[in-house]
C-alpha cells in the first residue's frame, strides 16, 4: 500500500515531469534533455513505489535502512548538481561582464 509520504513524492515527481515538458515545449530544453529528466523522474517514481528494489544495493554498501540510502544518494546527486550550476552561473556572469565592459569601453575618447 502506498503511504502518504510516497504519495507526496509521486505527485512531486509528476509535477517535475510536467515542468520538464513545459520547458521542452518552450524550446528551452532539447529532446535529449527532456528525455533524461523523464528517465530520472520516472526512476524516482519506481523507487518510491517499490523501495525494496534498492535493498540489495543498500546491503552492498552496508547501509541497513533504505531511507538512509536514499538520503545519502540524494546528497551525492544534489551536491554535484549545485556545483555544476554554480560554475556555469559564474562562467555566464564572466562572459556577460566581459561583453558589457568591452562594449562600454568602445565609447571612450582616445
Amino acid at each position: 500500500m502506498i503511504i502518504g509520504l510516497q504519495l507526496v513524492a509521486i505527485v512531486f515527481a509528476l509535477i517535475m515531469i510536467y515542468f520538464a515538458y513545459l520547458h521542452y515545449s518552450r524550446g528551452e530544453l532539447n529532446g535529449v534533455e527532456v528525455l533524461s529528466w523523464l528517465i530520472i523522474w520516472l526512476s524516482a517514481i519506481i523507487i518510491v513505489v517499490f523501495p525494496d528494489l534498492l535493498r540489495t544495493f543498500a546491503q552492498t554498501f552496508a547501509i541497513s535502512r533504505l531511507f538512509d540510502l536514499m538520503i545519502v544518494g540524494g546528497f551525492i546527486v544534489v551536491i554535484p548538481m549545485i556545483y555544476i550550476s554554480y560554475v556555469r552561473t559564474k562562467r555566464l556572469e564572466k562572459k556577460l561582464e566581459d561583453y558589457i565592459r568591452k562594449e562600454t569601453l568602445k565609447q571612450t575618447k582616445k
Binding site: L96, E97, I100, R101, T104, L105, K110
Partner: protein
C-alpha cells in the same frame, strides 16, 4: 603625472550632479561610469559633458556591480592616457577638499597606492564599523597588510599598480581585493585620513555581500 578621477555610479540621480558640481574647479579628466542605473543618473551626468571640459560618461547596459564599473572607468582613463587614477564614490560622501592629499602623494612617486581612511568618529554605523575592523584584522593576518578602513572607496593608484593588481571582482569585493593584492604583491602603500558624510545607511555593503567577500578572501589567499 596625468591623473584622472573615476566615479562609478548606480542609481545616484540625486547626488551625481552635486558631485560633478563640486569637481567643477578641478582640472583633471573625469570618468563617470553609470552601472546600468534605473534612474536618470546617466542623463544627468551626460548633461555635464557640455560644461565640464574633460568629462567622459560611460554606461553599462546591464548592472554589473561596483567592481565592474570601477574597472571600466579605470581602463577608460588609462586608454585616455592617465598615469594615475583617483577613485571616489558618486553619492557625495567624499570631499573634493581631500583630493589634493591624494594628488600630492601620487606625484611624490614614493607610493603605488594611497588608501583613504575614514575617521571612526564621523557617524559610521556601528555594524559597518565592527565589520570593517574584523575584516581589516583578517586581511592583516592573511596578507600581512593592515588598512584601517578596508572598504573606503576614496583611493588613488598609479597605472602600473592598477595593471599589477589585475582585479577580478565585479561587486563590492573589489575594495577588499585591492587591499589583499597590495599585501600579496608587496606594493608600496600609505593611508591618508578623509572626511566622509553618510547620506544613506541602506546603501553599500550588506551582511550578505560581506559573507560573499569573506569567501573570496580565502580564494585570493589560495590563488
Amino acid at each position: 603625472m596625468k591623473i584622472s578621477i573615476v566615479i562609478p555610479a548606480y542609481n545616484e540621480a540625486k547626488n551625481i550632479g552635486l558631485v560633478l558640481d563640486s569637481l567643477r574647479r578641478e582640472k583633471f579628466p573625469i570618468v563617470v561610469v553609470d552601472d546600468g542605473s534605473k534612474d536618470k543618473t546617466f542623463d544627468i551626468a551626460s548633461k555635464y559633458v557640455r560644461t565640464l571640459r574633460d568629462l567622459t560618461v560611460l554606461r553599462h547596459k546591464v548592472n554589473l556591480g561596483k567592481g565592474a564599473a570601477l574597472k571600466t572607468g579605470c581602463e577608460s582613463a588609462i586608454l585616455s592616457g592617465a598615469e594615475g587614477i583617483i577613485i571616489m564614490d558618486s553619492d557625495g560622501q567624499h570631499r573634493v577638499a581631500d583630493l589634493p592629499k591624494f594628488i600630492e602623494v601620487l606625484n611624490g612617486g614614493k607610493y603605488d597606492i594611497v588608501f583613504g581612511s575614514r575617521d571612526i568618529n564621523m557617524n559610521m554605523p556601528l555594524v559597518r564599523f565592527i565589520g570593517n575592523k574584523v575584516a581589516s584584522a583578517l586581511i592583516s593576518f592573511l596578507f600581512g597588510i593592515y588598512i584601517s578602513d578596508l572598504i573606503c572607496g576614496f583611493r588613488a593608484f598609479t597605472k602600473t599598480a592598477y595593471r599589477k593588481l589585475n582585479l577580478k571582482s565585479s561587486n563590492y569585493g573589489i575594495e577588499t581585493e585591492m587591499v589583499a593584492k597590495v599585501g600579496k604583491l608587496r606594493l608600496k602603500h600609505c593611508e591618508i585620513p578623509v572626511e566622509t558624510v553618510y547620506y544613506d545607511k541602506f546603501k553599500g555593503v550588506t551582511i550578505l555581500d560581506a559573507l560573499g567577500i569573506l569567501f573570496d578572501v580565502f580564494i585570493w589567499k589560495i590563488r
